[in-house]
């Protein structure tokens, strides 16, 4: 299984980030995406991570990483400090989701958000027919140990952006590494949104 298959959203993000952009990757994990963006898009930027192991992994890659909790705010950063702020598979694990999106759009001229789609048919099947909380490759947690506290479907996030006056510049829906255009909210496993104020 290639890394691309595990994180097909990285391909989309890499494609969407302009060459030479300044980026901030919130919840950057081990820095895989940030390193790829530096390599392939010559970006300059920083990752933010809370976990010791991830901070160390980023440092070992030579990346700029700031240890901290993105939920306590982005007050380290000035307004419009970055061309792109990335929230890849992070938003669903945050508690103050709306406030965070507002902060993200303050410090970034735009943001790229990737989300697991809770509207995928297998999720609906497991919950609707099986009566159990869904567990899958992309949502590999049990209800009691999941870091994900705010699940949404693709449609939910569309509606959220509409209600909060957030502009969706583009959207890609992926399943098994391929783009999904037909019935995306049912067939998509991962969605990537580019948004701005």
């Amino acid at each position: 299984m290639s890394a691309n298959y595990i994180r097909p959203d990285f391909d989309v993000v890499t494609e969407w980030v302009p060459k030479g952009a300044s980026v901030l990757d919130l919840g950057c994990g081990d820095g895989e995406l940030l390193a790829r963006l530096q390599r392939e898009r010559q970006t300059k930027g920083y990752g933010v991570e809370i976990s010791d192991a991830s901070v160390l992994a980023c440092m070992e890659r030579g990346l700029n990483v700031l240890q901290g909790d993105i939920e306590s705010g982005l007050n380290l950063f000035e307004d419009a400090a970055f061309d792109v702020v990335i929230l890849s598979q992070t938003l669903q694990a945050t508690r103050h989701t709306e406030a965070l999106v507002r902060e993200v759009l303050r410090v970034g001229k735009s943001a790229i958000v990737t989300l697991p789609n809770f509207g995928h048919w297998s999720v609906r099947w497991q919950l609707g027919v099986g009566g159990r909380m869904p567990v899958s490759k992309r949502l590999p947690y049990q209800w009691y140990d999941t870091p994900n506290v705010h699940f949404s479907t693709i449609t939910d996030f569309d509606v959220f952006c509409q209600e909060k006056n957030v502009t969706v510049e583009r959207r890609a829906v992926l399943s098994g590494g391929h783009a999904v255009t037909f019935l995306p909210n049912l067939r998509g496993e991962t969605a990537v949104f580019q948004i701005r104020r």
Binding site: C58, V65, G68
Partner: protein
Amino acid sequence: MNIPSDAVGFVSPQKIAFETPLTFASGATLDRYDLTVETYGELNASRSNAVLVCHALSGHHHVAGFYKDAPDPSKSEGWWDNLIGPGRPLDTRKFFVIGLNNLGGCHGSTGPGTTNPATGDPFGNDFPIVTVPDWVRAQTRLADHFGIDTFAAILGGSLGGMQAMQWSIDFPERVRNVLAIAAAPKLSAENIGFNEVARQAIRTDPDFHDGNFYAHNVVPKRGLRLSRMLGHLTYLSDDLMGEKFGRLLKGEDYQFGFDVEFEVESYLRYQGDKFAGYFDANTYLLMTRALDYFDPARAFDGNLAAAFAKSTAKFFIAAFTSDWRFSPARSKEIVRALLANKHDVSSAEIESVEGHDSFLMPIPQYHALLRSVFEGIKV
């Protein structure tokens, strides 16, 4: 004694003479001075692998290794020995490491206890008030002495971290990496307050003689002892002290008196006595004052980001959760100013219980991060 294979082994200090006058921020001048240093590892041919370690309040040049001639060599290790050596995070197979005793110190460099050639007596209170930028300028001459144009890295904890930052502000082209650990961009009123209590303890000691106690063959031990006891309290954390001492009694039961009743009192007295036995009272005043005066933003209308505008170094800023003297929030102020300049910076907040002293501890996460910084430096 058995020296661990990843230690630098036996070391010895050297004294380097500087015969060019140095004018201090205060306007005072020293016509000549000595700096006592130790070095570990070898300077490479391109002189690109030098690392300067700056000391904190009571530190000195003996950063790593052991002294063969010490009364007990096994207890003579340098104050940051756990960091430096072949195979340690700051690896002496790759880097040439310099430790020095700063001007105004009491471990061999020219300081208040040194004889003033103009009078034939110790400088005492005539020694110039030193500031962090003064130290950094003296350190640039040390770099010149070794033929080092640019340091691969400059690091320090606490007051040492302030010197590392000052380098990037005053001599940006001469440092490629700055590691400022458990530091702050300036002291708070509370920090200055603690320093002033320590200074008052020394200056009101009848044996202080306005700084010229050398002539009276006495040492203001009571003042030094009190200042160290207070200092120690601020370097530790409440949690650690609770863990270490709690309310443990020295004896069986309450003695209903003011002698040592609790273990913590015994510990503080021991630390105070030890310190008073070797540290110079005037040096303590100078070092605390250098801390108070440190405020690189002051020359930029209080704008710290502007102070760092010309810096080109890559920064590593680390703080410790249990450090209340220079808390993680103080390190964030530094990080914010660096980010405003889009400088390369990484920052870490390390779990610890040892308070401000954590920066000297071999905490696994902390040392792994330092190792990654040094491994990433090209020489």
